[in-house]
């Protein structure tokens, strides 16, 4: 039947009104947040560190670095002969209603050699997972989508590492269309922590390879919803004796994002100061020598502010840090503040509905060729039948 538009129309009006009112509240908060950021920047570094310590392990704010945290940094000159690698992945999730139980991971990558005039090199790797050990975890539960995402993230990083190694010795920047922290490792649901840890270790070894190849590495997060810098400035405003889990939760900046304040602070091309992510996951990264830092960056004249995550070995190497900063800006010049390489990597990786249908058709024929009778579940079949019904358009 589709959605019941008549009942949704009044709700849509309410949604519009609520968002409008929220935007007014958020706008009113921004000057206060910026003032609080300047106040935090004036605090003694050791006092701030002492407050962070008091906040405890569960606090997930931004940890300041030696850079003054309200400073902005202008764009450095992009290096000559810069190679920018972009990688992105997509997947077909396992579906127990489909003709066969499998999943597929598709990774697309591109290397753009800026200033060469040559066509970029494109790679695409598609892999089908159908063995019992791929499909069921150690407790014999079918794998969850989050587990497929985890394997996809590892595959993306593997592609970046391989392509960076092929350009070792060159001025190379590898960009991932995601956070560098392997968030999926925290969200694998039914999968055992041993398997998750296995992939986390693989991922960290891939970061070792990227470091050895001397490439700059960045995780690019468009339209970030992160509030970690806001958490820091809220913490900075709390008297030492009042830092508790309760007071940390009662932030006056609820509804605001870091992006909103840095959109006001960062001129085009400028980056913010460096911060360290206080995520619990970052402890594993720190132990392996890849602690994740981040900064905000205004990537175009229209004020597109993104979050860029980098490993410690990029953050502490001024040459690599400048390469990431300038390289991302260069790669964003024609694509409205989002890297060209990531636009194209996504385009290579994505599995359009038509291709997916053709793949499933081929799969059914292959099964028939092996004497198997592929059948979808009755639920999937009836969904197809009812989904094909023509709808009257409004």
């Amino acid at each position: 039947m589709g959605i019941h538009l008549p009942s949704l129309l009044p709700q849509m009006q309410e949604l519009g009104q609520a968002l409008y009112e929220r935007s007014l509240q958020v706008s009113a908060m921004i000057p206060k947040a910026i003032k609080a950021l300047h106040f935090t920047a004036e605090l003694d570094h050791s006092d701030l560190q002492s407050k962070i310590k008091k906040a405890g392990d569960r606090w997930t704010g931004a940890i300041p670095t030696e850079e003054t945290l309200n400073l902005t940094f202008p764009p450095p000159t992009a290096p000559q002969g810069l190679h920018v690698i972009g990688a992105d992945g997509s997947q077909i999730y396992p579906d127990r209603h489909a003709a066969a139980f499998y999943y597929l991971i598709n990774v697309g990558s591109i290397v753009v050699s800026h200033g060469s005039g040559e066509a970029p090199t494109i790679q695409q790797e598609s892999r089908l997972f159908f063995e019992i050990e791929d499909l069921y975890d150690e407790a014999d539960h079918p794998v969850q989508n989050a587990y497929v995402n985890l394997r996809r993230d590892v595959a993306e990083m593997k592609t970046l590492a391989e392509r960076a190694e092929s350009l070792a010795g060159e001025q190379t920047l590898a960009i991932l269309d995601n956070s560098l922290l392997l968030w999926m490792a925290l969200q694998t649901g039914g999968s055992t922590s041993r398997e998750t840890d296995l992939y986390l270790q693989q991922y960290l070894k891939l970061l070792d390879r990227l470091r050895s190849s001397k490439a700059g590495l960045a995780g690019f997060i468009d339209r970030p919803r992160s509030v970690s810098v806001l958490a820091l400035i809220h913490l900075a405003g709390l008297p030492d004796g009042q830092i508790t889990q309760e007071t940390l939760r009662l932030t006056p900046f609820r509804g605001l994002t870091d992006r909103a304040i840095f959109t006001k602070l960062l001129p085009p091309g400028h980056r913010s100061a460096l911060f360290i992510s206080a995520s619990p996951l970052n402890r594993d990264f720190r132990t392996a020598g890849h602690e994740v830092y981040f900064f905000y960056l205004n990537t175009d004249a229209d004020g597109t502010v993104v979050r860029v995550e980098i490993p410690i070995w990029v953050a502490q190497d001024p040459g690599l840090l400048n390469r990431v900063h300038a390289g991302i800006l260069k790669d964003c010049q024609t694509t409205g503040g989002f890297p060209y390489t990531l636009v194209r990597a996504h385009e290579v990786a994505v599995i359009p509905a038509q291709e997916r249908a053709a793949f499933e058709d081929m799969l059914q024929r292959t099964l028939l060729g092996h004497g198997l009778r592929p059948t979808q579940s009755q639920k999937a079949l009836t969904k197809q039948l009812t989904g094909q019904r023509k709808q009257h358009r409004l």
Binding site: S113, H114, S116, G117, A119, P120, T334, G336, E347
Partner: protein, 200 residues
């Protein structure tokens, strides 16, 4: 079948009246309006002869965004032209077929199948095929196409496939045949005959 034909794409839609092919963009292999091509049919036992009457590039919002910029880096232009999966589509009118008995100027018994290879026609085959001009009537019957320009361009390209000393003789012969077919429509005839002149 010619010895070394150049593959220009693969069939994506087809009927006995014609076919549509798609290819990756490459200016070198881009088919030319009015040129002849051949598509495999009947499991390779025959080739449908097609006349390219339309070449189009699929609309693409990303390319449109780049095109609107003052300056696009050469790498991105090369990426768009060589790498991106934006196929050029070309449409061909079926004007004959080739089998063990040689060329025939009539609709083929079967259309090519999806993904059949499409080759440009080499000059020797083009001369052979156009040695008879019955296919001109098939072009004139294709009302929905830019028939006059297509007919003039095809004949001009067919003349150019011949040795230089035969150009004029072929065009005169073709002009007479067109005059016979369009005896009742002198305005169109004049238009086509004007188009037959080889540009210097």
């Amino acid at each position: 079948m010619p010895e070394s034909p150049m593959m220009i794409g693969r069939v994506t839609r087809c009927s006995t009246r014609g076919f549509v092919g798609a290819m990756q963009i490459s200016e070198n292999t881009l088919p030319v309006f009015g040129s002849l091509c051949q598509a495999e049919a009947q499991g390779g036992r025959s080739y449908v002869v097609g006349l390219v009457y339309d070449i189009s590039i699929t609309d693409d919002q990303f390319a449109r965004q780049l095109a609107a910029l003052d300056e696009v880096p050469q790498e991105q232009i090369a990426d768009g032209q060589l790498n991106r999966q934006v196929p050029v589509e070309f449409s061909a009118l079926a004007v004959g077929f080739h089998d063990d008995d040689g060329f025939h100027q009539s609709l083929p018994p079967q259309p090519p199948l999806t993904l059949a290879s499409v080759f440009s026609m080499v000059p020797e085959d083009s001369v052979d095929f156009t040695s008879r001009l019955h296919f001109l009537q098939m072009i004139l019957n294709a009302h929905q196409l830019p028939v006059d320009e297509l007919l003039a361009t095809t004949l001009r390209l067919s003349a150019q496939a011949r040795p230089e000393e035969e150009h004029e003789r072929f065009l005169l012969q073709a002009g007479r045949e067109v005059a016979r077919l369009l005896a009742q429509d002198l305005t169109r005839l004049e238009n086509i005959l004007r188009g037959l002149r080889i540009k210097e």
